[in-house]
Amino acid sequence: MELNNNGQERIKKAALLSIIPGLGQFYNKQPFKGVVFLAIFFVFIIQMATFGIEAMTGLFTLGVTPGQDHSLFMLIEGSLQLLILAIFLILYAINIYDAKRVATLASIGIKTNKSFIDIMKNVYQNGFSYLLALPAYAAMIFAIVFPVLVTVLTAFTNYDFYHIPPANLVDWVGFDTFKDIFFLSSYRDSFMAVLSWTVIWTFAATTLQIVIGVFTAVVLNQKFIKGRRFFGIIFLLPWAVPAFITIMSFSNMFNDSIGAINTQVIPLLNHLPFIDIDAISWKTDPFWTKIAIIMIQGWLGFPFIYVLVSGILQSIPEDLYEAAKIDGANAIQRFRTITMPAIFAIATPIFVTQYTGNFNNFSMIYLFNEGGPGSVGAGAGSTDILISWIYKLTTGTSPQYNVAAAVTIMISIIVIGISLLVFKKTKAFEMED
């Protein structure tokens, strides 16, 4: 509907008036709404005056007097204030939007709710959805958004074991921490060593578990198999038993001198013809530790893939295979042209979560050999991946909180980037409207 000049004027006025929240609503003859918005505005002003201004300046300076100003608390309170400010700005935008919308409705002659009861009814009808999702937002803001904000901020400070508040102040240092990681030789070498092993570990371990999982599913899906249920249950066990327990058990079993692998399994294997293996230094030789954790992750991770792929295999129509057989395709060709595409069409996003999961698989690395043996500098052991390095940087005797935070940011960017790329490509998670 065309708006006349009068209507245009009215909308403009409502929007302008609501620069002070609430006035636009009064102008629209919705005093109840006006009072609510005005009240929110006043609460914010008071909050700003009593806590906010100080918190914001604190975030800016991070304290001036050592021993008196606690830089960390200032950082946290400042971050909290940033969140409050963001929430207020959202409410402020809603206020202007609402004033404009109601004015528009009124100027084209649609009746708007004036009374308190009508408005409450309207809020209940349209606001019910927000109400239901509110607890999720609240929990997420404090358990995820806020920590991420603080982590990002920490990465730009010099918070380490030289600067522990309240005795010392923490200061903003800009991109220095990132520069150190990339250009300072001691850090750069450790970072590159840890990063490259993280990438190798992720690819080797995840690919191994996918290969075993897919292979086992295909093997067990053959028609002649007897005892499928029996094998099915056994193959689920590594997934069902809590991983930390099995990793700790393996850690003991792989002990160089007393572990069962060296004292029982290898001697047993040596009874077989043509096999003659010496005891292997699983825990003291970085190469063998790496082999061991990749194998163990294959053991731990394949059941999930196996179950997933088994389900997909059963959904492939039998006729497809029959038709391919008649066309003369052999087993391998049938697998490549029918089975594989079917698996990847459904399972790719889940495979990706397996890769990103192993990228951050702290338990496997830390519980098996605490990231050891040996060291690649900056507190990192030879089998440490980025996340276990972060753990060591924050818990060690000379903690480097800023470096840990910077590495956390890099991990997040890598993981999110790869996931988004794949999700976009596979069109999983596509929204319907």
Partner: protein, 283 residues
Amino acid sequence: MSKLMKSQKSSRAVNKLFTYLYLLILAVVIIYPLLITASSAFKKGNLVAFDLDLTADWTLNNFQRLFTETLYGQWYLNTIIIALVAMVVQVAIVTLAGYTYSRYRFIGRKKTLTFFLIVQMVPTTAALTAFYVMALLLGALDQIWFLTFLYIGGGIPMNTWLMKGYFDTVPIDLDESAKLDGAGHIRIFWQIVLPLVKPMIAVQALWAFMTPFGEYMLAKFLLRTPEHYTVAIGLQTFISNPMDQKVALFAAGAILIALPITILFFMLQKHFVSGLTAGGTKG
């Protein structure tokens, strides 16, 4: 022709042989570490390493020592409290949010949904520095309520996605016809839709319940006094000192955790993957 059939037959026999050989080897590789751990729980004396000697004397003494000589009972109780609270709160939050995103079209829906998806990829456990500073400010270092809260919050984005995916599989016609019959928001949610997503709720509950039993990093980072430990970090103290390995106690404690969890797992296993794929592939 008969030659071809014969060679086909023998290649089939070879295939059969290798199939069963593979399955058997895999089964042994899976069972051996579990059996060697479990059997160590029933051994007498001070074991320093797992070994598989089924002829040795058997005893239940280790289970008794677990509860009299160590804090294991306390750890178990801590873990169950954390697990129950996390389960109830998280399932409630996630169910409400998942329902909202499945059923309502509201301003900001798509944006926040994308936000959930991205946040879900952030390895939140890596924000250790932030958790440490927050805990310092709140006086929450070494407190299990803070850990519980982090477990609840951390699981929300991913599980909201899965829950929404499952709610999407319930036909919207049901809501519409209920609405025509005069049912309100709460009635439609509580009496019409909710009963149909019970399987997913059960899966979510189990997940939320199992997480505190298996999570190691955050618990180890935040909990400092042994009385506050969860079972995961408590058990590790039995075998973390190379000079003092209490392998039999570890094994006994491991059985008491693994047995109930494994049984729960098998009860709900069917729903795990269907839930994952339903939530993952539908919008």
